[in-house]
């Protein structure tokens, strides 16, 4: 917890949660997206439809899943199927949003969650793609959640696990990925960012409370576009904090 009365993770969860729209489908991965989705269902998006990659869809997130296949991922859900079903719905264009993380990201929103160093001789072997490449390939919009630092926001990532806009405009389609898909937002502990409609490069659009534009630029290892006017992300509300602490993550797995 910081001096503001909330932790950076709590703020990240709240900012991500506010991006989740009622009546949409969203691939939810382990961790912060689960808390954000649960918070969204309790606030503005009761019919947010979480899709978990191992087959649970439309669950009521009354308890916090600890794994993308656990029983809370389909608790009071609308369908409990298999991984192929979930991923094929994504290929059919039925998944609006996907939430992604990673160890490294570049200006086009390409993500590395595979390896630091060379794939054949890793310095650090990371968990791998998992469903990230699938989510990043097929969902209409991906929302990337990251810790914001120079070590993570890089001109060149070590390994391209999950496609962002690859090398720029048109590159996804050229590679054979479905049209009109790609990263939509990046939400960090410092700021929110989108991708410039023409250049597809990352652009700062909003600042977290107490964070300056220069701070964000400083913590970004590539040349960052900055929108003409920057939004100010609201801090967690008292109700958001209450829900997170007293209902959603009572056991403090994440917050």
């Amino acid at each position: 917890m910081t001096e503001n009365g909330y932790s950076p993770n709590e703020l990240l969860i709240c900012v991500a949660s506010r991006l989740m729209e009622d009546g949409t489908t969203a691939f939810i991965g382990t961790g912060i997206p689960m808390l954000a989705a649960s918070l969204a269902q309790r606030q503005h998006a009761p019919d947010l439809m979480p899709i978990f990659e191992f087959g649970g869809m439309g669950a009521r997130l009354e308890r916090l899943p600890l794994a993308v296949g656990d029983m809370w991922t389909f608790h009071r859900g609308l369908i409990a199927a298999g991984i192929c079903d979930a991923m094929e719905f994504a290929q059919l264009g039925f998944v609006d949003y996907g939430f992604l993380g990673g160890a490294q990201i570049d200006a086009y929103g390409n993500l590395n969650s595979t390896v630091i160093g060379e794939q054949k001789h890793p310095k650090v072997r990371l968990p791998g793609s998992g469903g990230a490449n699938d989510v990043g390939s097929c969902c209409w919009n991906t929302i990337i959640l990251m810790q914001h630092s120079k070590r993570r926001f890089l001109e060149k990532i070590d390994f391209l696990t999950t496609p962002g806009y690859l090398t720029g405009p048109g590159a996804r389609e050229q590679a054979g990925l479905p049209a009109n898909t790609g990263p939509y937002r990046v939400v960090t502990n410092l700021a929110t960012l989108d991708f410039h409609p023409e250049s597809k490069r990352m652009r700062l659009i909003g600042l977290n409370p107490g964070v300056t534009k220069d701070q964000v630029i400083e913590e970004t290892g590539f040349e960052l576009l900055v929108a003409d006017s920057l939004a100010q992300n609201a801090p967690p509300s008292a109700e958001e904090l209450r829900l997170l602490r007293d209902e959603i993550d009572k056991d403090r797995f994440y917050i």
């Binding site: 382990t30 961790g31 978990f52 990659e53 191992f54 087959g55 649970g56 600890l66 794994a67 993308v68 296949g69 656990d70 029983m71 991922t73 389909f74 608790h75 409990a80 199927a81 298999g82 991984i83 192929c84 991923m87 994504a90 290929q91 390409n110 595979t114 794939q119 054949k120 001789h121 890793p122 310095k123 650090v124 072997r125 990371l126 968990p127 791998g128 793609s129 998992g130 469903g131 990230a132 490449n133 699938d134 390939s137 097929c138 390994f159 391209l160 696990t161 999950t162 496609p163 690859l166 590159a171 996804r172 389609e173 590679a175 054979g176 990925l177 479905p178 797995f253 994440y254």
Partner: protein, 341 residues
Amino acid sequence: MTQDDATQIGAMDALRVFDRGEYDLLQPVDIEGLRAHNRANKSKALVDKRMTEKEAVSRFFEDGQYLGIELYGTVRCPMSVVREVIRQIRDRNITNLRICGQGCFEQELLANTGAIKGSDWTYTGLEVYGISPSWRRAVESGAVERVCEWSNAAIAWRFKAAGMGVPFLPVQVMQGTDTLRCSSAMVIENPYGAGKVALVPALIVDLGLIHVSRADKYGNCQIDGISGFAREMSRASKRLIVSAEEIVDTDVIREHPDRTQIPYFLVDAVVEAPFGSHPGEMAGAYVRDEPHIKSYYQDAQDAEKAQTYMEKWIYAVPDHEQYLDLVGRDHLESLRLGRDV
């Protein structure tokens, strides 16, 4: 694309290949071989296949195999069979396994044996607890000699291809990435429309391990809740050991044949394993044993402590019954789900 373009199949005599993963297959795609194997080895008669973990693993587990384990180590995973596999790796001096790296706690334990030499990797980690420490050591040290990259869906579709009896499936994923470059997927021109399509090769498993909610003695299986990749991998396995929370009479199966996810003729061994997924969870039956998992994760940061866990919970325990005694019957009962869930 106009309708005219789409309905005309031009006079091509080949389909262009645009991209190709640089890595060789870890496991050959031999559908004819799978057909022949199934014909020769999978009985269609109703044969009582009940046996212990020890007997099943002794009969069907061999050095040199490619293993597949469903689902995740903390969720409906055949942990009692995995523990027996690990004991036999040591007892039978097994050193050369390949595995599909879509896993979690069970893969972490297998990494501690040093017997895994290759992995078709998609996600190996400990979920909320992050990176899988023993896998990390095994890969970074070069003990795992070959690692091919895939996405979760790609691995599931690779099982699905094998389980459909076809050598590959077209997919929309992996294009444009290093994930594809470090795999044996390819990208070809779309033969029925504009654009490109990726192909992923079938993944045939030498030995598959799956834990289910209930099975009859012949191997007809029902799974409550999500099916993960059980349907696909069961059909892609040359040998399949099923463990079940409960063995039921075949009448239970025949009462609701639309709930059979795995039919008997796919199955080589049926192991009765109540709490078989411990320390993981089982939908409809019990929750995961969080303190156990957390404690392993803390231990496993240190290679020696990871071996201490292996000694205590696996090598020193002859069978699943005694494992359950070690965990504690009262503790296990406390993990059971109430009627309200």
